[in-house]
């Protein structure tokens, strides 16, 4: 087929296109992944017994703000990186760094105020060995969906786009996990929650070049 014929065929197919395709696609897929992740949590781990009281406390929401901040950063970056000319938007890495710095500051204050022999307990909590792994496991369905959505669009920086898809999945997965996990020490959160979420981003970056290719 010569190029002029191709252009004629494509022009005949020129229906109007609604704006906001990227946002709609990412929202639909991520929403489905979030539901799957919540169902997985319900089937696997009980909600924290003090959930109703925790909802009235600030720590639960501070923790949620922290994990949702990771998800937001991932979503903001992915919304750009899912497009051919997309780059990481300026200010987004800074937002992530600020969230980590705030939580790390709270962790340092908490550890400084605690009695020296209790500091390890604050940092390790009761669930340090499983926390990050569970966040990664809960992110499974989410990561599949964010990657599928990205692949159906047109990323060209595949590793970075994979990392953003992983960060979005990890941030939401950690937020879901917080419904089960009663840990409240900033030292615990800044270490083990961050490790879980960043592992998801690393997985996304690792598989991105292989599975985000589109034709």
């Amino acid at each position: 087929m010569n190029t002029d014929e191709l252009i004629a065929i494509l022009a005949r197919d020129a229906r109007p296109v609604r704006d906001g395709l990227v946002q709609r696609r990412l929202a639909t897929f991520t929403g489905a992944g979030l539901c799957a992740s919540l169902l997985l949590l319900l089937a696997w781990l009980p909600p924290r017994p003090d959930l109703p009281q925790a909802l009235h406390g600030t720590i639960f929401w501070a923790k949620g703000a922290y994990t949702l901040c990771f998800a937001l950063v991932g979503a903001r970056a992915l919304e750009r990186l899912a497009r051919p000319d997309g780059r990481v938007p300026p200010g987004v890495p800074g937002l992530l760094a600020m969230a980590v710095a705030l939580m790390a500051g709270a962790a340092v204050i908490g550890l400084a105020r605690a009695a020296p022999d209790l500091r390890i307990a604050l940092w390790m909590g009761d669930s340090a060995p499983v926390c990050s792994l569970r966040i990664v496991a809960l992110a499974g369905p989410l990561l599949l969906m964010t990657l599928a959505a990205t692949r159906s669009l047109a990323p060209t920086r595949l590793r970075t786009a994979g990392a953003a898809a992983g960060l979005l999945a990890g941030g939401l997965s950690a937020s879901v996990y917080a419904l089960h996990c009663p840990e409240s020490a900033p030292a615990f959160i800044v270490c083990w929650y961050s490790l879980g979420m960043l592992s998801c981003a690393a997985i996304g970056a690792l598989v991105g070049p292989a599975i985000l290719r589109w034709r």
Binding site: T3, L6, D13, P16, A82, R215
Partner: protein, 186 residues
């Protein structure tokens, strides 16, 4: 056509104006042709394939164009992606082709070794001169003339001797092959 004009055509096309969409693609085609020609060098066919692939992607992915952004960076990002993707694919094809060649060479070598060993056993049963000639021409790969010089024979004599020895070998192996006469010719 300027960036602003191209972008206006894109926006009109997104709104459903087929004529504007056709004009946009027609205006982008020579730009893409130049882009790929610079990078593909002496392969105009492959460059034109990439032009078409890129036009198709521009059409299929036009919903991903952010209307607040300039158009040409978006177009060239798709072109670059298609270019790198084609390199990646052809690179992989080359690697696969090389793997195949390696395998073929390996098989041939294994076969050759077997054949040489069998031939050694058979050659031992032939008269000495026939053995020497067969070895020089068929195994060492000398030309008829070189073999003739080495053994102080005429080229015709070498041919006849080789012919005889091959017949003798065939008789020994119990195989007759119609092409065997031709095979001794260099």
């Amino acid at each position: 056509m300027t960036e602003a004009e191209l972008k206006a055509l894109m926006l009109a096309g997104l709104a459903g104006d087929a004529a504007a969409h056709a004009r946009l693609l027609a205006a982008l085609a020579p730009r893409l042709r130049a882009y790929f020609a610079r990078r593909m060098g002496a392969n105009p066919g492959a460059a034109e394939d990439l032009v078409q692939e890129t036009l198709l992607a521009i059409h299929l992915k036009r919903g991903l164009y952010d209307r607040d952004q300039p158009l040409m960076p978006w177009v060239l990002a798709i072109a670059r992606y298609k270019l790198v993707d084609s390199w990646r694919r052809s690179g992989r094809r080359k690697m696969e082709a090389l793997d195949e060649v390696d395998e073929l060479v390996a098989e041939e070598t294994a076969d050759g070794t077997m054949a040489r060993r069998d031939l050694g056993v058979l050659l031992a049963r032939l008269p000495r001169r026939q053995q020497a000639l067969l070895h020089d021409v068929r195994i060492e790969g000398l030309s008829m003339a070189e073999a003739a010089e080495r053994h102080g024979l005429s080229v015709a004599a070498v041919k006849v001797t080789l012919h005889r020895s091959l017949k003798a070998l065939q008789a020994l192996v119990g195989v007759t092959r119609s092409t065997s006469d031709g095979e001794i010719e260099p």
